[in-house]
Amino acid sequence: MKRTLAMLLAGGQGSRLGILSSKRAKPAVPFAGSYRIIDFTLSNCMNSFVMNVGLLTQYKPVSLIEHIGTGQPWGFVGRQRKLTILPPYAAENEMDWYKGTADAIMQNLSFVRSFNPERILVLSGDHIYHIDYRKMVQFHKDNGADLTIAVMRIPKEDASRYGIVQVDRSNRVVGFEEKPTYPKGTLASLGIYIFNTKILIRRLSEDVNMSTSHDFGKDILTRMISLDKVFAYKFSGYWRDVGTLQAYWQTNMDILKPESGLDIFHWNLRTNPNDRDIGDRVPAFIGNSAKILNSVISVGCKIEGTVENSILSPGVSVKKGAIVKNSVVMHDVAIAEKSMLNFAIIDKDVIVEREAQIGLGKARANRMYPQLLDGNISVIGKSSVIPAGIRIGKASIIFPNVSYKNFKSENIETGSTIFYVNND
């Protein structure tokens, strides 16, 4: 894998994750208690012995850059190992943001050339999966391919949400459509590509002068299918795009179901232990009055209440008499006595005060953002305070930093949205 350079696209906003990604890039969204989404791709690189990674950032990269550091947790530090963060930059002639995924790589061609790689592994930082890229590289070599695309069979009804690949009998790709209204198959592209460097550089250079959207899926792939040898590598393990809040919640819950195929215990995942000092936190303490069923509990948690079917990140405290059900609770959230959470995604540093209740009533769509929330789940933004005794219905959105003054009533109906307004 010495001759393979990974280019990891981590600039996406993930707008359908709503307030979870309003302050951080989608790859930096916490997942599975102590990880962030990008840890899965970085760990895959580590476990596949990829030694050099270029990480392309654009949207709110602070959390992400902080998290990744030098790449040391994933072994990307050493004489021949390196992780380089590639933010957008101003050049002599141009001062441009990355216009698309292909453009992001085009603008870093000198970086790519400095490694003189035979192949480039193009990855996305926002998927949850476990793969050995070495096998895919072998497949690529065996077929003498110019480009190999990892694909997976998906249910027919989901096909219009993905890039759909058509293949012939020898797995050669003969067609590609991005999010087709009428899909011509059920093989979805997983956003994992292996390019021969020379061909990629040629096609990217051609693309620069064309009036396209400079996107891999739409432009480069379509052109390469007609001009070059493009193959599909069939992947059959667990792979999820956690692009929506519903998918984010469901994928978290999959950890609790061994039959789902999401097996965080055997994937040798790594994360940055300095991030919020999670590596140095004391073991979780489960107290005398605690009742915990079917849940993920991280270090630094202090549990005296009831926790069921939930995922708790480091440092969460659940006080006596509090009930947490079907929820994803991020770092250092404090849940006070006799409060109740059901179907909630709670961002970091939220304080839920005594007897506050979240997730009451029936499932519905959020009135203001029906495209984000349509069902049981509510989302509470980072550092909000949920005042004592307040009752919040299902499918509600509470924005980050919301506090006492922003709540106009004790009863927040289902499907409501509460914004942060600074009244001072």
Partner: protein, 420 residues
């Protein structure tokens, strides 16, 4: 700025390891089933220290004992640390590495394990930890230290050494010995009794005093030396006896220097035997104590058995958990009360564990019942096995396999790597 370097004395196994341990016994049954009496005051950890040095003993689920002293040094900005070690140092060396977890890496910072060695003129082990310092005087010299701190790696406490250093310098002392008020029963036959005058100058030192009648001050194994005095004292003293004899000799020779006490009221634990080890662990299974641990900022090696990188633990749908320390990487689906778990422990559905300490990567299969037991790393407990009882602590050595439906009575001590 003036510089301080520290020597940390890592522990041995037990005081009387050769005579008390059943290693030499030929009959495997006798080896596996020797019941021991931990009440006799001997410093015996049974099979827990057959595989590792005492300061490398796991504690509170995810730490090793030496983490406390190393974290204290880190939190006190002391950046040059030499570790004197001789007895089974493998686990310890693996754990400490080059000291990354405690920030001992970088310009002017250093953490080194100092093993015994031979040269052209002698082929001697360290006769005791202080002899180990005598043979490694170069470490303090190379660090260009103005003052030298000598610490024991087997104690559990949190301490900021900086006020001690300030006090030592303010008094222009040659040696400062940290003392703590102790009851008669805590000191008699166990600690070093220190008497001093009104100015805090030490007048006498008695190691393991037998006949004392009133409470007094005892040394808690923290010594600060002016470098010139350090090199003179350690250069001249013979230090050839046991650890206690060497310390007595050292304290005799420091009389001609300006030797003061520094009184502390910090909590301080010297874990002498399995019983004390067991009780300090259970002592911390309380919410207030966990908060203290939180505040202390204790660091440990995250690479050691990959502890820092394991996933968050999962508690299953049929479990019962009360009063538990739960670090990373555990999968728990049984009945647990008052248990300290270490990373990677798997407790299957239907297993029952009470009042026990379980080390890394132990698997307890369905239907097993465990009570009042310490289970070392990598042990597999077969289905339906019944282990331990209230009467006395049971210890299962590292890597041992307990067969299906075995019964291991209370107080049994099982060798590492056995199959029972």
């Amino acid at each position: 700025m003036e510089k301080v370097c520290a020597y940390v004395l890592s522990g041995d196994g037990s005081k009387d390891i050769v005579n008390k341990s059943p290693i030499g016994a030929d009959d495997p049954k006798e080896r596996s089933n020797r019941a021991i009496d931990f009440n006799d005051g001997s410093e015996d950890f049974g099979p827990l220290t057959f595989v590792r040095n005492k300061s490398a003993l796991p504690i509170f689920g995810m730490y090793r004992i030496i983490d406390f002293v190393l974290s204290n040094l880190m939190n006190s900005d002391i950046e040059n640390v030499g570790i004197i070690t001789q007895y089974l140092p493998g686990s310890l060396m693996e754990h400490i590495g080059i000291g990354i977890p405690w920030d001992f890496v970088g310009f002017g910072r250093k953490c080194r394990v100092l093993p015994p060695f031979y040269d052209r003129t002698s082929m001697q082990w360290y006769k005791n930890p202080y002899d180990g310092i005598k043979k490694n005087l170069f470490f303090a010299k190379n660090a260009q230290a103005d003052d030298v701190l000598i610490l024991s790696g087997e104690n559990v406490y949190t301490f900021d050494y900086r006020p001690l250093i300030d006090y030592h310098r303010m008094n222009d002392a040659d040696i400062t010995v940290v003392v703590k008020k102790m009851k008669v029963e805590e000191t008699a036959g166990k600690l070093g009794l220190v008497r001093f005058d009104k100015k805090g100058r030490i007048t006498s030192y008695i190691e393991n005093p037998q006949n004392i009648k009133s409470d007094g001050f005892a040394s808690i194994g923290i010594f600060l030396f002016r470098y010139s005095v350090f090199s003179t004292v350690f250069g001249q003293c013979k230090l050839s006896g046991t650890k206690d004899e060497a310390l007595t000799e050292l304290m005799k020779s420091v009389k001609k220097f300006k030797t003061n006490v520094y009184i502390t009221e910090e909590e301080w634990y010297y874990i002498r035997d399995v019983k004390e080890y067991f009780s300090i662990n259970s002592d911390f299974l309380k919410e207030e104590r966990v908060k203290e641990l939180d505040k202390w900022n204790i660091r440990t090696s995250l690479e050691d058995r990959n502890t820092g990188f394991r996933p968050s633990s999962i508690i299953g749908a049929q479990s019962h958990t009360k009063n538990i320390f739960l670090p990373k990487g555990c999968v728990i689906d049984g009945f647990l009360e008052n248990v300290i778990l270490s990373p990677g422990v798997i407790i299957e559905n239907g297993a029952e564990v009470n009042n026990s300490i379980i080390f890394h990567d132990v698997i307890v299969h369905s239907g097993a019942k465990i009570n009042n037991t310490i289970i070392d790393k990598d042990v597999k407990i077969g289905e339906g096995a019944i282990i331990g009882g209230d009467k006395s602590i049971t210890i299962i050595g590292k890597g041992t396999k307990i067969k299906k439906n075995s019964i291991i009575p209370a107080g049994t001590l099982i060798q590492p790597q056995e199959t029972v």
